[in-house]
């Protein structure tokens, strides 16, 4: 059996929601993205965004937090059911990361993850590739983040 058999194309995982408080938006921005519209509600009012909003890297980092928690729960349930557990390698990168709308203070973002492709590689018999799409929607149903990822998977 190949590791690729553990992956079902089109399977979509619900990663749950995260509430972005003003306090954590500012805390992240101070460390990593100290632009006025991520730090100061008054300065943000005069920006293109119109109000205090999270750094796009913050929205992405919270996706990762949800991803790690979900992977652990998913693997645990596979193990309990006696099913094979997929072995992923480190992420090599992402493409087409979009922030179509800002994440404002007190917004709730609902994250998802979906398998969109899988393949073996001619030059490597140990690792295959799994393609995924990740998304986050705000409480109004608007897309606030999306990106594609190609991860290594042990065959």
């Amino acid at each position: 059996m190949s590791g690729l058999d553990t992956i079902t194309i089109g399977e979509r995982f619900d990663y749950g929601t995260h509430d972005f408080t003003a306090e954590e938006i500012v805390r992240f921005a101070r460390k990593f993205d100290p632009q006025p519209f991520h730090l100061d509600p008054v300065a943000a009012r005069d920006s293109l965004f119109g109000a205090l909003c999270a750094s796009g890297w913050h929205t992405a980092a919270v996706w990762m937090q949800k991803h790690v928690a979900h992977r652990k729960a998913w693997f645990d349930s596979l193990r309990e059911g006696g099913h094979p557990v997929p072995q992923f390698g480190p992420a090599l990168g992402i493409t087409d990361l979009k922030w179509p709308k800002p994440v404002f203070a007190d917004d709730t973002v609902h994250y998802f993850h979906e398998f969109t492709g899988k393949r073996e590689r001619r030059d490597n018999r140990e690792w295959g590739i799994v393609e995924t799409v990740s998304e986050g929607y705000n409480q109004h149903g608007n897309l606030v983040i999306s990106f594609n990822n190609a991860a290594l998977l042990k065959l």
Binding site: K31, Q35, M64, Q65, G89, L97, K98
Partner: protein
């Protein structure tokens, strides 16, 4: 409308080929573990032994930590001193090699192209390529991303 404070760099200053230096920035053991604890709590980002046993070869920063610090280095180098209006996304990020605890990262942002926005007079879109290197000169991260900027003459129109 509030008068924007004077900035050093506007859209017009982002001419293709222009480079901005990034860093240096040290990824301390504490910073690597603090970021991972909150956002990417996998063993190779949290524990020396688990890092050594992993394919990464040592306690390694989360790729998202590297990306977030790249943002910080960009902010400190030129964005905070620019009439920057945010970014709609990122074309790609490639984590080419692990950033290990203690690594000192430097880099460069290079202007790839620039064009005025037809839909928003006074604003332009710039494409930047970013590269980060460790203290051994290895490319650890490579990215391309757009950035919105206000124009000088747009500033006068306000």
């Amino acid at each position: 409308m509030t008068l924007q404070s004077e900035k050093t760099y506007y859209f017009e200053d982002y001419t293709p080929g222009r480079e901005f230096r990034l860093g240096p920035c040290t990824f301390s053991r504490d910073d690597v573990i603090a970021f991972a604890s909150e956002f990417d709590p996998q063993p190779m980002h949290l524990d020396d032994e688990a890092g050594k046993a992993s394919i990464l070869g040592g306690l390694a920063a989360s790729g998202w930590h590297v990306s977030a610090m790249m943002m910080r280095m960009m902010a400190d180098s030129y964005i905070l001193d620019s009439a920057a209006l945010g970014a709609p996304g990122v074309d790609h990020v490639r984590w080419k090699k692990p950033v290990l605890a203690g690594d000192v990262i430097t880099g460069v942002s290079r202007v790839q192209s620039s064009r005025p926005l037809k839909s928003k007079p006074g604003i332009g879109l710039v494409e930047l390529v970013h590269e980060l290197y460790n203290q051994r000169g290895d490319l650890v991260c490579e990215s391309m991303a757009p950035l919105f900027l206000r124009m000088r003459k747009g500033e006068q129109d306000r």
